[in-house]
Symmetry: C3
Subunit: 386 residues, 3 copies
């Protein structure tokens, strides 16, 4: 392991210990409020299942890189959560709310981190994923602060519609990942195939299903009890829509069904419904899901190869097509769906997100690329004792 | 894809969008009632885990058909839920209750659909699973309406004991599936082996375990908070009983333990306890589980091959032995266990279910068989880009 | 199957049916209390996911013994739960509390049983796992009674800090397992390699992640709503700490990252935080996790082989290093962390646990070893019809 990186990470760990003083009193004022907090906890566990088993196994599709993908997922989740707490505790950005909200927001940051890492999967050493987590989280919090907490005075608080994170979580992570690939794809890596097989596909489909299952809890994690049921039904219908649309689009565009489309684009409804999940109604949610599934499948089946060829860079998991385009679409859809939305702020929020994500992704990619390089990309043997 | 099917499915999708006006207001009258609705939501997520990762991976036991089985599961869940909402919304059958109840009932329909599809697994193209879902749900709702909502005036409301769906969900799905196989097993397919291997078995056992884990939430999904704890303990004990009994029966009947029995018959206790889960007591639940495990293992180890040979038809997953016989047993057991049960209605409910399921299964099987045929049964290559 | 064993097990099953009269009334006094009981149920489901899919799949790492490991897990869970109820019902030990507490305590017993079985995994026939469960649970309850319910008058009630079971569940199971290996490792078995491969590793990592995800619910299963949020945050931070530490320790000690370390030592934070999860604060939880990860990785990477060589006995899953050492560490840490702790009782509790576990493990290992022996250790073919 690169020595500088080691020192950076260990220093951070020490800092964390000192800084990990998140408010762990329960701010509940009654027994019923305590119960409501515990219900948030259950949703936070669902999100944890998405982060580790969901995102983790979705990335196992690379035939020979499964154990590394899971190891990297473990490390990124474990670095993102205390780092989020640490950054929050500096007080530079928004003030922390109840402890369970902090945990959920930290999980959201971890989700966004896992998304961006999907773009460079297989081309980094394990310690580089940890370093990536350390560098990613502050930029993520910075953007979250601008969009949701009035940071820099650009956007009024509560002006943005993004309860389930189409913009703040999905688009940010995907575009950050897009920034990463410029410094983190060598010529050799561009030419290297990324094969999957029947077993790696089945693991990947398991991860995909776990994401699908718990997605309603992700979108509704911080929603009040009275709004929760309509929210989760919207998310389920959006996912049904994207799943059906993916099949038709995959057959239409490729003549056969691609497991890659089924594992990924099926989830695009969940990405795209994020901005409007708590304010739209069932039939519109279903339509949003269908459109997102079509868009995402088009991305995987057509755009991915073309863009890769054009840039000579590789987005391993195609995060631009699962999280990027559907995330942006979700943010834009809010303009047509949410009554009384401050359109200017919503558009500004999307633009700010794209700019912050791209610039910081380019920068962080450059830094990470200086700390080492895989000998054999997309191969467990390079780093694991197998 | 068959063009007529395409048109049918796409027309339906349009209809859905128009019809998807399920009541998404929360009907809760107090903050505590809202919390109770959210608890139902958590159980609905558990059921979703059973549908996708549970049933889905249980069906991955077919060595070369795993990715198709998962794709088919994705499609069936995604078509069943909006179709259930659509049929409910026509108002022809029972009036929809609170939105979260509709979601749970739609999931029950999806479970029954996945059960019937298990009988013909590996012998249909992906779009045929979608078509099957479209045709299955109305018949399912029709039967549910007769048994539980006084439809056609045959059975008084609340006369049937079937909280966890032994009759309405499991027996219905299995017998419908039994009806399907008559038109959906060609001679070539009858002669074709359905091999599993160490990896497909491990995936299948994962699906089995996920079903086992969340089964208590399935049975107790709509149970009131005060009855929930005894209900779930009964379900857990029934599952413990069937799991232990399966081992002894498997060794007794086959001399060695069969992974097929372990993945399937272990769950028979959950199927059979469905009708009485909220009214029986712990020791009886354990006995019901033991008997169901014995019956189901007998089905897999002995009856399956004999019946297949007799009919020259294939029930791929053996749904008759996991869901059919234990489901009927569960419905009958209620007669001995439930105090003050209207025996005539219970028996009539079982008979109606068997008749409706068989007739509609035969009919739907015929229709689906007209829309296409696998070139290579039980093989991903036939339809997926692999 | 050995006939005596068959008779013992079947006699037990009959006894269970008679004895399974656990209190299944809800002891809740208000609608809100019912809701709180249902929240415990949700945590009990999380624990069930850990027992079956978590522990079960973690043990699938043995390349050719995956299906047997899962079958054994199924049987052990299914025997442990009714046996716990039966032993509790004898009234010899502590009086049963609310039914949902009994279920959770029975699951804790099953967890401890699965831990001890990990030490002898691959060297027992399936019925021997069932017999092990029957013999293990009474000793487990005996120890639990001494530590937590004032049994034998040794330790005052509530004197021990062990909410999440570092001592009572983890250390007990691991040391019991250590006792088992003396009679349950033949020379041939000592010399036999226990290989894993890419697929068995990926399944094992899935089990590991499922344990990680639901660990907060395990530790907080019986914690009151008002203390739940700080407890789960402590557990999450301890797991983050051990996960990061495992990576650094694994690379430091082995030069490459070992999937065995990643699947196991990552969880050591959860084991070690058990005794103090509801009383410590976030930064200390993170440090406890880091230390536990280092200790556990040291166990897997260095101690395991040395001790195995010294004793000529095999601890297949290395339960001593995941559950044993970190469990004892967790119990000892409480002395420094918990204000006003009765240090003498805490130490006595640890010593009693070690003594009871070792003696009963040695005894039960001897008994089980008399009832049969694998022909081909670590191989599904020996017992399954594959």
């Amino acid at each position: 392991m690169n020595k500088t990186v080691k020192v950076v990470i260990l220093t951070f760990l020490l800092l964390s210990v000192v800084g990990l003083c998140i408010a762990t009193e329960v701010e509940a004022s009654s027994k019923l409020d305590e119960v409501i907090q515990v219900q948030k906890y259950f949703r936070s566990i669902h999100i944890m299942a998405m982060l580790l088993a969901g995102f983790g196994f979705l990335m196992v599709f690379v035939k020979k890189y499964g154990r590394s993908a899971i190891t990297a997922t473990y490390m990124m989740v474990s670095i993102a959560i205390p780092t989020y707490f640490l950054v929050e505790h500096t007080g530079l950005f928004s003030h922390p709310g109840p402890a369970i909200n902090s945990l959920i927001l930290a999980e959201f940051a971890a989700a966004s981190l896992l998304i961006c890492a999907g773009a460079v999967l297989g081309r980094m050493k394990v310690y580089q994923y940890i370093l990536l987590g350390l560098l990613f989280v502050p930029f993520y919090v910075f953007n979250e602060w601008i969009l949701l907490s009035g940071g820099l005075g650009l956007i009024p608080i509560d002006a943005i519609a993004d309860t389930g994170g189409s913009i703040v979580i999905h688009a940010f992570g995907a575009i950050f990942g897009f920034g990463l690939i410029f410094s983190l794809t060598s010529k050799k890596e561009y030419k290297c195939e990324v094969p999957s097989d029947a077993t790696s596909d089945r693991f990947s489909l398991l991860g995909s299903m776990l994401l699908w299952i718990f997605w309603p809890s992700f979108c509704a994690a911080l929603v009040a009890p009275k709004d929760l049921i309509p929210t989760v039904i919207n998310v389920v219908l959006a996912l049904c829509g994207s799943t059906l649309a993916t099949y038709f689009a995959s057959v239409g565009l490729r003549k056969k069904v691609s497991p890659e489309d089924i594992a990924n684009a099926t989830l695009a409804g969940g990405v795209a419904i994020g901005s409007t999940c708590d304010v739209t109604i069932a039939p519109i949610a279903f339509v949003i899901g269908i459109l997102a599934g079509l868009l995402s499948t088009l991305g995987f089946a057509v755009i991915k190869e073309k863009l890769q060829h054009l840039l000579k860079k590789v987005d391993t998991c195609g995060v631009l097509y699962l999280h990027g385009l559907p995330g942006i679409m979700g943010g834009l859809v809010a303009i047509f769906v949410v009554k009384g939305l401050d359109v200017k702020s919503q558009l500004l929020g999307i633009v700010v997100t794209l700019v912050v994500a791209l610039v910081s992704g380019l920068l962080v990619g450059k830094i990470v690329s200086l700390t080492g390089k895989m000998g054999k990309p997309y191969d467990d043997e390079d780093q694991l004792e197998v």
